[in-house]
Symmetry: D2
Subunit: 148 residues, 4 copies
């Protein structure tokens, strides 16, 4: 029920140690975020190219559990959480063959790009957050029913 993004690890993602360069995992998480907002109809070009309203990342963190290699088929699942009227956080889980190989988080703040002041979410992002909240609750309900 949570949004998932499929991504093959590319040669350019790797480094001379033979595995994925650490910072590239955060970039792959951001790709999943892009795919998620595109999935609710948001136009990526307008959203990301010199936009009047933007959602810069103010914090990111990532934990690595296993090395990730060229050709690995990543499954990135993503859950956004609303934090007040002008902030959201996204939790990412990256799997290869059902093993969690990394986990990450990004925190975004909504700003007016001309002033760089915080502002309330525009409707399209509120709806994306709401859609994801419903999907998450639905998934939890189903899970708890299975347990009973």
């Amino acid at each position: 029920m949570t949004f998932t993004y499929h991504r093959t690890v590319r040669f350019q993602d790797t480094d001379a140690a033979g595995v994925v360069y650490f910072a590239n995992i955060l970039a792959i998480c951001h790709e999943a975020y892009e795919e998620s907002i595109a999935s609710v109809g948001i136009n990526l070009k307008e959203f990301f190219t010199h936009p009047p309203i933007a959602f810069p990342i103010i914090h990111a963190n990532v934990d690595f559990f296993r090395p990730i290699s060229c050709g690995d088929k990543l499954v990135v699942s993503l859950i956004p959480y609303k934090q007040g009227v002008d902030k959201f956080e996204i939790a990412y889980e990256i799997l290869v063959d059902l093993f969690v190989v990394a986990k990450a988080q990004t925190r975004h703040v909504c700003i007016d790009t001309s002033t760089r002041n915080k502002r309330e979410f525009p409707d399209e992002i509120s709806e994306w957050l709401e859609t994801n909240r419903k999907d998450r609750e639905e998934a939890l309900r189903r899970k708890s029913r299975e347990v009973m």
Copy 2:
């Protein structure tokens, strides 16, 4: 009939001018090459991670016809050409909405990575080149029949 690779332009592919950073188009072409060799059963991890035989690029070139933006749906088509027993060249065409936005070429040489001397293609690459040659000729035959 030629191999095609579909790729959405990501935020990280762009630069402060608002469009794709030029060198990233060559990286996207390389992704298409990776996908093409994976499609004939070659294991990408073994092929690209400290391999005994490698195919380093000795030349690359790219021409840009239109700016490419975040969110653009690229279709990369690729044709490899055998050049003797130890070299091949790949021609790439990148389209957005049926328009050619860029063209590129990469030239690869087959080497033994321990000595870095040239060597003949291993079977799996000979087969990949042969499969692509047949597909290309088949496509040409069909085209010429359509003309008649």
Copy 3:
């Protein structure tokens, strides 16, 4: 007294929002780490290219306080902290014109790359950690003398 690394922000570090792409700040921190270990005589090619002993990152985090633009002159200062016999953490502070624009941390574990098991630090890394510890304590002593 702490190690500092100077780095101009490049066009390729930026994205279509006009500022540095978030994950690239972690890559710039890693450059400072590379420069720091090179400064104590460690050979970067041997250290990073298919080495028998490696120091993969198991955790990274970054906080952004101000947008960073193409051409900005970054000053990255770095303090490594030993954590037991097989782990270390590095704290980074990134300044532009004396303002802290970002802070980051990376946590590294020492492994034998053939088995990927943890192992004790080799001498050169113990010495790098020790050199940095002494510099840090010296800086603190000087600071406390200035206060008195």
Copy 4:
């Protein structure tokens, strides 16, 4: 006499084959171009961040003569050539320990970014081209005197 740029190869520039990822050499050449235009007083932030006049690359090519490793000290020399009133080309040579490891070229066209139509060079770029032309001719004169 020609402009030179010094750059240490970073871990993130490399790939799982253990050497620099091919497209990254073009990015390093672009860094040399950025440094060259900064050296005549051009403000990089204004020049590259959503500018009214831009110089997109319409062609690039690169030849590789030797593998390039993490830690290698690159010396990139660069010569720009004016081509009419709205185009210029830059030739790059990349050396490690006095050996040429790669050569590259980029071709740029001057455009008005609002219309994306070609336009004549602004003064600052004409001056940068002229400064480089004089340096080049001076270098050639000196060389020919040495030969006599």
